[in-house]
Amino acid sequence: MKTESALTNTELPKTDPRVKLISAKIKKENYRADALIEILHTAQNAYGYLPMNVLKFITKELHLPPSRVFSTVSFYHFFSLKSKGEHTCLVCTGTACYVKGANLLLNEIEKDFHLKPGEVTADNSFGLQVARCIGACGLAPAVVLDNEVHAKVMPEDIVSKIHAKISEK
């Protein structure tokens, strides 16, 4: 794992607005260890993922052992230790979507982008993810492109939809 090298990363610039955001959240939660998950949510919202130096920062602020923070982060699907890509496509693989062909969508994407779920293109422009269920079962199969839910997506349309998203500025 890259963990070790990442841990030696430089300290966070205090002037970065994202750091300020996290600091404010930590302060608001009164430096309580039980607010760790809330703070991680804030950090991930700010950065899009949880870079190792950010985790280190949180660890220090909350006076927690790194193992406690890292074990929590790695336990929950929602938290990601690496960048998810500038644009993301999240294919729901909940039961309803599965029954209605979510796998066909994944196959199409794999064919075109050579990506498996959890992977990001080499230029970091696009990442593919799967979700266990986004609760849009009435609209199966559902796909989330950059936070926008697309309903009843057909295998023949998915790739062009993604390309359209990537070329959007």
């Binding site: 309580r32 260890a33 039980d34 607010a35 760790l36 998950i37 809330e38 991680l40 949510h41 074990s71 929590t72 336990f75 929950y76 699907h77 929602f78 938290f79 693989t93 909940g94 039961t95 309803a96 599965y98 029954v99 209605k100 979700a131 266990r132 269920c133 986004i134 609760g135 849009a136 079962c137 009435g138 609209l139 199966a140 559902a142 926008e148 839910v149 697309h150 309903a151 009843k152």
Partner: protein, 548 residues
């Protein structure tokens, strides 16, 4: 705000409703489903259309929560006619308003379910989809603006809390809930009143109420719709529970995958605090109660109560052995009441109408109604609420409009990864806790996935086992290793490399994992496998026969 102020507000809001100044109300469904089909655009365009026609004083346009038939969205409903249009988009809004309101000639082709009914109903409430439902938990979802507390007041909002605080002792409240015979809607079906009583009886300086909105079952979206469509109802239910068990702090644990539900619930908390319905000395009584939202981080196991508690404490969401049950030692070691979103949504009507009223709905052992999320190969998918004991056949063929694409019904999957499949020969099963258990399935939280003759049941079992394998927290060996081994065997059979010994191994492992796992996740993980083996054994055998 004190008691009288609340009465004045409710009275004023009701008077406003009675002297409703508009001739028409157009409700635009802004549940998560319809929003992803573009209903927010529709809402904006409708408002523009109304002002373009200079009819702002005649027509009110409001966003509402989920109306139910999600795959027909975006939906708009014209009141007072109850006429619902489906799949509305920005291009046909002008035509719809012109025909419905000006010409008074509804466009039949665009009415709800026009493709499934010979003649669609002008009054949607007469359509079997709505007619056969009995909305208690979902009441007002789809009629009111979930982002306005005033809309909730019109429908007797917070009247139950007021009644509880000033006319009932905690014992009275618990007695009423017990009398209703309500059972927890999270899946287990434990009697709600009994749970409340247990927490009430423990003496402690601090107790907690937790609302479990970590709806992790794939194929279930009941809690999401309730939280999005009528958040104040859940909030009021939690406050009543707090009063009954003696807690002054509540947590609502909501899935991170549901940003809209989180937003609306947080908004509801803010409004309630501002109005004095949350906080110190509510309505001038001695009772104080506060609620915080905790956002789930995507772990199915956190639906298990001890794991959920660990997660609220900011730790890995791993369960611990029970006893002690959370009622005795829960959040931070204090007595804690945990109920599901749907359970809390059912409290207010029980207080308002009495436990007797509720107990008469449904079946003798399963009182009340149940919300189901209908999805899969069915014509009308979406959210429904029916009395307990409604048959599966009625749900699929009358409410749901039958199987999609004219296929044949093969099985219904209930209870998600903890549940099982009901085959077609049991189509007349009454949907209640006991009947489903007798068929090897469970009620679960209410996900109902319909499968047609093209569905491969062994693959379905493999799918759910993969889910449980991924979601196993890893704490206990039977679940961590057992789900992986069962998954690999199922995978082998799916790839047609299995032998009959593999089936025997699966059966042995399933019982072993079921009996020895620490928590509900492992104990129920073999259910989809066992139930498909029980009802569709021949499918397993064909896959093996081919090779050997």
């Amino acid at each position: 705000m004190n008691r009288n102020d609340l009465k004045t507000i409710i009275y004023a809001e009701k008077a406003k409703e009675e002297n409703y100044k508009y001739k028409y109300k157009i409700c635009v469904c802004c549940g998560a489903g319809c929003i992803s089909s573009g209903s927010e655009e529709v809402l904006k365009k409708l408002q523009e259309e109304v002002s373009l026609r200079g009819m702002e004083n005649d027509i009110e346009v409001i966003p509402t929560g989920c109306m139910g038939p999600c795959n027909q969205g975006p939906l708009i409903k014209f009141e007072p006619d109850h006429t619902v249009y489906q799949k509305v988009d920005c291009t046909n809004i002008a035509t719809i308003v012109q025909s419905q309101i000006i010409d008074k000639k509804p466009i039949e082709d665009m009415l709800l379910f026009s493709e499934f009914r010979k003649k669609p109903f002008l009054n949607a409430n007469e359509d079997p989809f709505f007619k056969m439902q009995h909305k208690i938990a979902l009441r007002n979802c789809g009629d009111i603006n979930p982002e306005k507390i005033e809309d909730y007041f019109v429908h007797d909002g917070y009247k139950a809390l007021d009644k509880v605080l000033f006319e009932m002792s905690p014992e009275d409240v618990i007695a009423e809930i017990k009398h209703s015979r309500m059972r927890g809607r999270g899946g287990g079906g434990y009697p709600t009143g009994l749970k409340w009583e247990t927490v009430y009886k423990y003496v402690s300086d601090q107790k907690y109420v937790i609302c479990n909105g970590d709806e992790g079952d794939p194929g279930a979206f009941m809690d999401r719709s309730v939280l999005e469509g009528n958040p104040h109802r859940v909030l009021e239910g939690m406050a009543i529970a707090g009063y009954a068990v003696g807690a002054n702090k509540g947590f609502a644990y909501i899935r991170g995958e549901y940003p809209l539900a989180i937003k609306r619930f947080e908004q509801a908390i803010k409004q309630a605090k501002k109005t004095g319905l949350l906080g110190k000395q509510i309505l001038g009584s001695e009772f104080s109660f506060d609620i915080e939202v905790r956002i789930g981080a995507g772990a199915f196991v956190c639906g298990e109560e001890t794991a959920l508690i660990a997660s609220i404490e900011g730790k890995r969401g791993t369960p611990r052995p029970r006893p002690p049950f959370p009622a005795e030692s829960g959040l931070w070691g204090k007595p804690t009441l945990i109920n599901n979103v749907e359970t809390f949504a059912g409290i207010v009507p029980i207080i308002n109408n009495g436990g007797e009223w509720y107990s008469e709905i449904g079946t003798p052992k399963s009182a009340g109604t149940k919300v189901f999320a209908l999805a899969g190969k069915i014509n009308i998918s979406g959210l429904i609420e029916v009395p307990m004991g409604t048959s599966l056949r009625e749900i699929i063929f009358e409410i749901g409009g039958g199987i999609q694409g004219g296929g044949e019904f093969k099985a219904a999957q209930t209870g998600g990864p903890s549940g099982g499949c009901i085959p077609s020969k049991h189509l007349d099963v009454k949907m209640d806790y006991e009947s489903l258990i007798s068929l090897g399935s469970i009620m679960g939280s209410g996900g109902l996935i319909i499968m047609d003759d093209k569905s491969d049941m062994v693959d379905v079992a493999r799918y759910f086992m993969e889910f449980c394998m991924d979601e196993s927290c890893g704490k206990c060996v039977p679940c961590r290793v057992g789900t992986k081994m069962m998954h690999d065997l199922l995978q082998k059979i799916c790839e047609k490399k299995g032998t009959s010994i593999d089936i025997a191994r699966l059966e042995e492992l399933a019982v072993f994992v079921k009996e020895t796992s620490l928590c509900g996740l492992g104990a129920s993980a073999p259910n989809p496998l066992l139930s498909t083996l029980r009802h569709f054994r021949e499918e397993y055998e064909t896959k093996i026969d081919l090779e050997n």
